[in-house]
């Protein structure tokens, strides 16, 4: 190692680095964990520091370049325990501005650099300063607000913290719920504390690396690892030859999973470019890398199927010909999953219609791209139990899956989820934990396995691409008589989440309108590309793209306003999901029924905010090549998986009257931990500060299904409410004896229990009494919650676009996203979910797409070519929260996580049609695709 003298945060330091090593690696080794690994190519900004006062991305800076220079990291921003004004501004802006926090160290340093040079920046200047900091959570709006607020305060202007209070909270006299409480993990995230999976130093750590397949489909005739094993510093080389073969699914779902057991840790066959061939553990990443290069693999290359069309062809190569796979629908036809559901008789429904339209829609494979890649550390504890510290959305499912794959009893495995840098479904999977565990078992040593961004793109998960044939019939007056939706999807190489995602396309989209006749089918074929899996929305964005674009086409053909056609047919209170049972939308018999519905108000407020009356005004004065348009779309999602998924919470009192809240819920950045704390604090009459939240550790917290299917607020939140109510009862019982007052007459508020006469005892007094003095016992409650209903949240989303008819470019000027998510427990958090979901959907609509070459290699495994939207190119975002009270939810809440991603893309497609008169039925709306459609329609020459 070379010793590099430099100054870090004002102190002279020596950094140790291997030649060629990046400054990122050297700084993290020296304990500056606030510097984050996001992309390896300088594209995301997560690793940014100030180098001699100038922003520099450390993943593309050599450690050697820092010699003699001054480095400023996020760790320096807080001084003498005081938050920097920028950090405070992010706290004040609310949960929505912080979210997973993985991008924040870079964002804050860039913002500081800006304000140091420009104390009064414009919004455009702030956006420019943040332009190279990719954020997948916030949509940037609130981050920009926070920077502007900090700038104003630095100039001496008073900017009060953003007020967030739900009207319903005021009405219901709620003090904590419905208010913009600060995020419980705000401080560590804003100050760069080591809270993420990889932010630890572990003695004796080995570095794991995976050898990925260069071929889309091949059998491994033989594999020679002798040279790799002989390399000094290599501790294990695993292949199919020395790794137990136990079929499993990586899908994190409640047991038994509805995904086929069609993968093993290491197979003698590879099924996509990026598939696992071997795994190595070595003393340094460089040695591990060299060892991979020494592994000699003899491949028998097989013909590949890159598309469902190729995979379904008679005589197509069979992707899963192994005899031990389980639950594949029909391996001999490459059919990973197939499902159909119906209500009434669609043929009859089409006969009754005056208008029947059939169209085909295509949606691409896109990736979640959380800023933190998949990251995992495994080690054996003092009792030889396997500890898995991992960036996961599903700690309990991961424990169960990995235990089985490693051949360990569940009790021998502990999974810990620290803070995680976003997931969006990609971490509802055990993508790498099994391999990391195998390497620890093989070596007896701690092993770290972290994906590079390239691996994240080529060997993790994504959204299922679909071709959707939609046929709809309606009467002249706009009554829908039948809807038929037939989906062909690509499962990729493994069928993880395949059945349930495709089923969800029908079960979520097809009951938005009350058609007496429905038919849905989905056939999902194995293909030789990286497997899709769970991605925010889970099949619903695909379904709503087709449904909501189609409704507009129907309306145009009927000569109706498209929102009027929706209004005539949409569901409302009392309606049930007619296809839910057939489409695994929960356990059999758990019918989703609508008990709260703010959809009409979402549409009304959304239309007003977008200026719906301006539809049809296509011309842009002075710009003959531009056309302007407005479009809207609606959607509904669910809140958890009814009858199947469960969350549980334990709450106990401490000596000082504070509480520990223990839950298996897996906050992925959206603020789940804060929501649980708010709910508990509301019941327990204390502040959020007095709830110490510890979550997602399978040894110390009760079971929770994890963070998916929009569940945490609804399920785990309800469990928190129920547990807190038990604790409250116990508190009142103790207080009743202390105050010699009937329990029913006591009130608990502001940290005290009071009698009607004004006598009171504090929660601390009660804790001391119960823990130390009389009838000693632990005041403690625990509750589980499994939902029977699955109340749908609703969305009405609107887009204003400009289309350049000479180039085909689509520019989105404004998005209005009105959500009914019940009662917003944390209004800022809901807006954050709204902005973030909208922004991901903008990418889906405009530019995101995984594209493969003819050999199955991904053509764009890097940010940039895979473009996610940046701060300085965002349209105006207008999030609207329509408050309703959901009787089945905790304090009236429904789910907010997925619904905002559902209807943005069809709203944009509809806006393009309004602008140009041309309907484009394939995403993303790239300039070439749009121009081709405009030319075919004669709009462009």
């Amino acid at each position: 190692m070379n010793a590099i003298r430099c100054v870090i945060n004002g102190q002279g330091r020596t950094l140790n680095a291997e030649p060629g090593e990046t400054l990122l690696v050297a700084l993290r080794r020296a304990g500056f964990f606030g510097v984050k690994h996001g992309c390896d190519s300088g594209d995301c900004g997560a690793c940014m520091v100030l180098l001699d006062g100038t922003p520099a991305n450390t993943c593309i800076t050599l450690a050697a370049q820092a010699a003699g220079r001054e480095i400023t990291t996020i760790e320096s921003l807080r001084s003498n325990g005081e938050l920097h004004q920028l950090q405070q501004a992010f706290v004040d802006e609310g949960v929505g501005a912080i979210q997973c926090g993985f991008c924040l160290p870079g964002v804050l340093l860039s913002a500081k650099h800006l304000l140091d040079h420009n104390p009064a920046p414009t919004e455009a200047e702030v956006r420019d300063a943040l332009s190279g900091h990719l954020c997948r959570c916030t949509g940037y709006r609130t981050q920009v607000n926070a920077v502007l607020a900090a700038a104003a305060r630095q100039r001496g202007q008073a900017v009060p913290p953003r007020a967030h209070a739900a009207a319903l909270a005021e009405e219901a006299e709620l003090k904590i719920v419905g208010h913009g409480e600060a995020k419980v993990d705000a401080l560590p995230l804003l100050t760069g504390r080591p809270v993420f999976t990889d932010d630890v130093h572990i003695e004796g750590l080995l570095y794991g690396r995976i050898l990925h397949s260069p071929h889309a489909h091949a059998r491994i005739r033989d594999i020679d690892t002798s040279k790799a094993e002989a390399l000094p510093g290599v501790h294990a080389v695993l292949t199919y030859k020395n790794t137990p073969r136990r079929p499993f699914t990586s899908a994190g779902q409640s047991y038994p999973e509805l995904s086929p057991y069609d993968m093993v840790s290491l197979d003698n066959k590879v099924r996509f470019v990026g598939d696992r061939v071997a795994a190595v553990a070595a003393e340094t990443p460089e040695i591990a890398e060299r060892a991979l290069a020494l592994i000699e693999v003899d491949y028998e290359i097989l013909p590949a199927c890159l598309t469902p069309e190729a995979a379904m062809r008679p005589g197509a190569p069979i992707i899963h010909d192994e005899p031990d796979a389980e639950r594949i629908h029909d391996a001999s036809r490459n059919l990973a999953a197939s499902i159909a559901a119906s209500k009434g008789d669609v043929a009859r429904g089409f006969e009754d219609a005056h208008l029947v339209l059939e169209r085909t829609y295509r949606v691409p494979q896109v990736q979640q791209t959380p800023l933190e890649t998949h990251s995992c550390i495994t080690f054996l504890d003092e009792y030889d139990r396997l500890v898995i510290r991992t960036s996961t959305q599903v700690p309990f499912h991961t424990r169960r899956i990995v235990a089985r794959v490693l051949g360990l009893p569940v009790k021998q495995v502990r999974v810990i989820k620290p803070r995680i840098g976003g997931g969006f479904g990609s971490k509802q999977e055990a993508v790498i934990e099994d391999l990391c565990g195998h390497l620890t078992l093989a070596t007896g040593r701690p092993v770290r396995l972290e994906y590079s961004r390239h691996e994240e793109f080529t060997a993790s998960r994504s959204r299922h691409p679909q071709t959707i044939r939609l046929r709809m019939g309606a009467t002249r007056d706009g009554r829908i008589t039948a809807i038929e939706m037939r989906v062909i999807a690509a499962a990729g190489a493994y069928g993880t989440h395949t059945l349930t995602v495709q089923a969800n396309t029908g079960s979520k989209a097809l009951w938005l309108y009350k058609s007496p006749n429905l038919y849905f089918s989905a056939d999902c074929y194995y293909t030789n590309v990286a497997p899709p899996g769970a991605f925010r929305g889970y099949g619903a964005p695909q379904g709503f793209l087709a449904l909501e674009a189609h409704i507009d086409e129907m309306a145009a053909a009927l000569g109706m306003d498209p929102m009027e056609l929706r209004r005539k047919n949409w569901v409302g209170i009392g309606d049930s999901n007619p296809l839910g049972d057939q489409l695994y939308d929960g356990a059999p018999g758990f019918h989703d029924t609508i008990n709260s519905c703010g959809l009409p108000e979402c549409v009304e407020r959304g239309q007003a905010a977008i200026g719906w009356e301006r539809r049809g005004e296509r011309e842009v004065p002075g710009k003959p090549h531009l056309r302007r348009g407005i479009g809207g779309a609606c959607a509904m999602q669910g809140s958890a998986v009814p009858g199947i998924d469960m969350g549980a919470v334990i709450i106990k009192i401490n000596d000082d009257g504070s509480f520990n809240l223990l839950s298996g819920a897996a906050d992925t950045g959206g603020g789940g931990d804060t929501i649980l704390a708010q709910i508990a604090a509301e019941v327990l009459g204390c502040s959020v500060d007095d709830i110490v939240v510890y979550t997602a550790d399978t040894d110390f917290t009760p079971f929770d299904k994890g963070a998916y299917a929009s569940s945490t607020t609804f399920l785990s939140g309800r469990a928190a409410q129920l547990a807190a109510e038990q604790v409250k009862e116990q508190i009142l019982a103790v207080a009743s004896r202390m105050l010699e007052c009937n329990q029913q007459e006591l009130t608990l508020a502001d940290g005290r229990v009071s009698t009607p006469d004004g006598d009171s005892v504090s929660l601390a007094d009660i804790a001391i009494q119960s823990l130390h003095r009389e009838n000693q016992f632990q005041i403690m409650g625990h509750a589980s919650y499994m939902s029977k209903p699955c109340p749908p949240p609703f969305a009405a989303q609107f887009a204003e676009v400009t289309v350049d008819i000479e180039t085909g470019e689509v520019r989105v000027e404004k998005i209005v996203s009105a959500l009914d998510i019940g009662m917003p427990i944390n209004p800022s958090g809901v807006e954050g979910q709204n902005d973030g979901g909208v922004t991901q959907a903008l990418g889906y609509a405009l530019c995101e797409e995984m594209v493969y070459d003819e050999q199955g290699g991904l053509l764009n495994p890097r940010f940039g070519p895979y473009h996610i939207l940046q701060a300085h190119e965002m349209p105006e975002l207008v999030p609207i929260t329509v408050e309703t009270w959901e009787p089945s939810g905790p304090f009236g809440a429904k789910a907010a996580a997925e619904i905002p991603i559902d209807a943005v893309a069809p709203a944009i497609v509809n806006a393009v049609a309004d602008a140009t008169g041309v309907r484009i039925r394939e995403l993303p709306l790239t300039p070439e695709r749009v121009l081709r459609a405009l030319k075919a329609a004669g709009v462009s020459s």
Binding site: R811, L859, H872
Partner: protein, 270 residues
């Protein structure tokens, strides 16, 4: 991988002659891509090449001038300054723009800044031969097939004329995405009439190129007509973002837009 930070150009050039050696400027390309066989890097940051100054009729920038310096340079006046600042901003977003350099950008031959400098008539000096200025278009056309220059760019200069009128036009998937095709036009005029037109196109071919200057500068329309066959015959790139056919189509559109706008700014008729 060995790392050197020489303090003289001579030393740097000697080091660069070693096999497997590459010049390290901002690192946004070299260290992001890390080409195989890279044995040593020669950091150019201590050579004093991060400077932007006026010299007679020219603006002269050291090869290590950061794109952010160009994006915010208030001392580059007139329409040329506007288009250079815009081009620098469009080429990369912020922290990368603080790192990426003018020389590195010219070597990578990507982004609007290269097209803008071509249109402005930029020249480069190589290997410290300060007296020998090479036209940027000649430098780009002489680049090796492996994209690595055989010689080191030391300085870049372009005419500081305030009478030139420039405009930039581009097509991209989104506002901040890399351009699919871009065009920069610079129109210069004498007191009476349009004197010269330089039009550069990026994204159509592997490196931006300058369309041969037309002797007929009577109208923008005439220039555009002469451009059409050149675009049709160009070896256009085709990739997953856009086909060659699309690039040819919109190259004509952005060329027209840039030229028309620059022409109007220059006060030309039709």
């Amino acid at each position: 991988m060995k790392y050197y930070r020489p303090s003289t150009l001579t030393e740097a050039l000697t080091l660069l002659r070693q096999p497997g050696s590459a010049a390290l400027a901002g690192g946004t390309s070299l260290l992001a891509d890390r080409p195989t066989g890279l044995a040593s890097v020669v950091d150019l940051s201590a050579l004093g090449l991060d400077s932007l100054r006026r010299e007679g009729d020219f603006l002269v920038a050291g090869a290590m001038t950061r794109l952010q310096t160009l994006a915010t340079a208030t001392d580059i006046g007139g329409s040329a300054g506007d288009v250079l600042r815009e081009a620098a901003r469009l080429t990369l977003p912020r922290p990368q723009r603080d790192m990426a350099t003018l020389g590195g950008t010219l070597v990578s031959a990507q982004g609007e800044l290269v097209a803008a400098l071509l249109a402005l008539g930029a020249e480069v000096t190589l290997d410290g031969d300060a007296e020998s200025w090479l036209a940027l278009e000649d430098f780009l056309s002489r680049r090796g097939a492996d994209r690595s220059p055989t010689r080191l760019i030391v300085e870049v200069r372009w005419p500081a004329s305030i009478s030139v009128r420039c405009a930039l036009s581009r097509v991209a998937r989104t506002l901040a995405d890399a351009a699919i095709v871009s065009a920069v036009a610079c129109v210069s005029r004498s007191s009476e009439s349009i004197k010269g037109v330089r039009l550069a196109l990026g994204g159509l071919t592997r490196a931006p190129f300058l369309l041969p200057s037309s002797s007929n500068v009577s109208s923008a329309q005439a220039i555009l007509e002469s451009l059409r066959p050149l675009v049709q015959d160009a070896p256009a790139i085709s990739d997953f973002i856009a086909s060659a056919e699309y690039r040819r189509d919109v190259a004509v559109v952005v060329a027209r837009r840039a030229l028309t706008e620059a022409w109007e700014r220059a006060g030309g008729a039709g």
